[in-house]
Amino acid sequence: MRNIATLRDFASTVRSKNAGVDHITFDIIFRERESFERVRDAKVITPEVVCRLLRVTPDRLTDFVVFEPANAIKFTIRRERPSGSPGERDVFGSQQYAPLLDLEVP
């Protein structure tokens, strides 16, 4: 079996959380500068990757930024409905990051 490195092996924090009531923001943070640069330079996480992975149209990806001071990549997605509305699934937006963990890092 091939042992493929994934984001979970490189990032120290992978989280999602409300950014206001209409958005969920995702933070991928690296403890080591080296890991951050490797993931950044290999383009493991790009706007296209995010939209494909989370099955959202590009217009719902409202922000995408490589945040150097924190060794972090950060992006934000507009919710289908405001947080806590009837039918909503994650009031805090805190469990939407899971699929990122399995992104392969070449």
Binding site: T13, K17, N18, A19, G20, V21, D22, H23, T25, D27, I29, R31, L53, L54, R55, V56, T62, D63, V65, F67, P69, A70, N71, A72, K74, T76, I77, R78, E80, R81, P82, S83, G84, S85, P86, G87, R89, D90, V91, F92, Q95, Q96, A98, P99
Partner: protein
Amino acid sequence: MAEITILCPTGHLGFTPLEKASFLAGVELKPDVIVADSGSCDIGPYPLGADSQASPEAWQRHDLEIMLLAARRLGVPMIVGSASDTGTDRGVEQYVRLIRDIAAQHGLAPFSLAAIYSELSREEVLSRMAAGARVRGLDGRADADRALIERTDRIVAVMDAQPIAAALRAGAEVVIAGRASDCALFAAPILNAGISEATAYYAGKLMECASFCCEPFMGKESIFGRVAEDDIRITALHPGQRCTPASLASHAMYERRDPFREHVLSGYVDMSQCRYEQLDAKTTRASGARWVPAAQPMAKLEGAGKVGERRLAIVGMRDPYMIANIDKAIAWARARLAERFGTPEEGGWQVFYHLYGRDGVMGPMDPSPPANPHELGIVVEALCSDAKRAEEICALAARNLFYARLPEVKGTAGAAALMADEVLAGKPGYEWTLNHVIPVASATELFRTRLLTIDGTTRKAA
């Protein structure tokens, strides 16, 4: 050079009780002010819309008591904002009552308290709109119109540091504020110390969630801030925590779209040039923020409106054929609902099937829902303006899965497992109707401050 020290014990007062040991360690350092935020939009629209608290009063009282006793003993101000989760007038009144009770219980000598109210009536907003104010939608929302305001049950405006700073200058030793930007609670005493907006709001942004800006991850532990012009030093107080450049920088981007800007009523802090350096094992220094004043100050409005009464039912499924065909079963159930109650639009009802085990957490955003989960836990959520009808709709939505007609069901005694054949009464459903801003002429015009004296000695004697 001006310097001020701040102790912050919790990022959401009352949400879970604060940890006392690290707070008392911070009190030993004799802070100039004790500050905590007590509200959030994260708890969803229900508390604001229904004007109820999300935290148990016993925990709120626990936190307020620890903070008040320390602040009075040190003789320093205490600032609490977004009182009782929502920052509505109810929340402010409740916290003033709790402060009064705690003062009486401990026989505290008289002190001055400022209550700052930030609730706005629908009529107030509508009359400003009639006078030409544009209530601009944030985050891609449309501007507010009359219909949107009318279906909003409760509105709060979000203050910046100005009303709080004014209350402190007027002599308030305890400030209980309505809805406020978290960072503003910290910025107010920093501004009064003669330090710039850039440093004041930036320090507030770094400190607002207490120990969340330190590592390893711990909630409800205290942190200590030493703030001078362009020189913010944050220290972790829990013995097992450190404040590091990484933990502080990563907190600066927490729960916000834009990691570089913190917006408040009077302007925004530009954090794009901020620098972080480790000073000692537990302390990190931050600097480099810039303040950009707003050409037109804009107050954020938060509002929530009721959607309907809400009922819930729990249904399990184990038959692999039913699980494989769950979408068809749901479509069948929905068709039966529409026969009886009309379409959702006609009948004024909504039903949601939350499929735990497949994509209950992420819904359509889930990239890999399993095709054949071993079992499914289904939460049926029904809404209707009439409570009895919501109950009936929910019961039928759940039982229709039990009776779902699919061609090859072998379990002809029931196509689903009812955890219990009952409908649970949920809290009414609300939605965030307002996430908007309204222009204001001054940073204080929407907010009302009441100064009163709390004398814990009189009631004890009585």
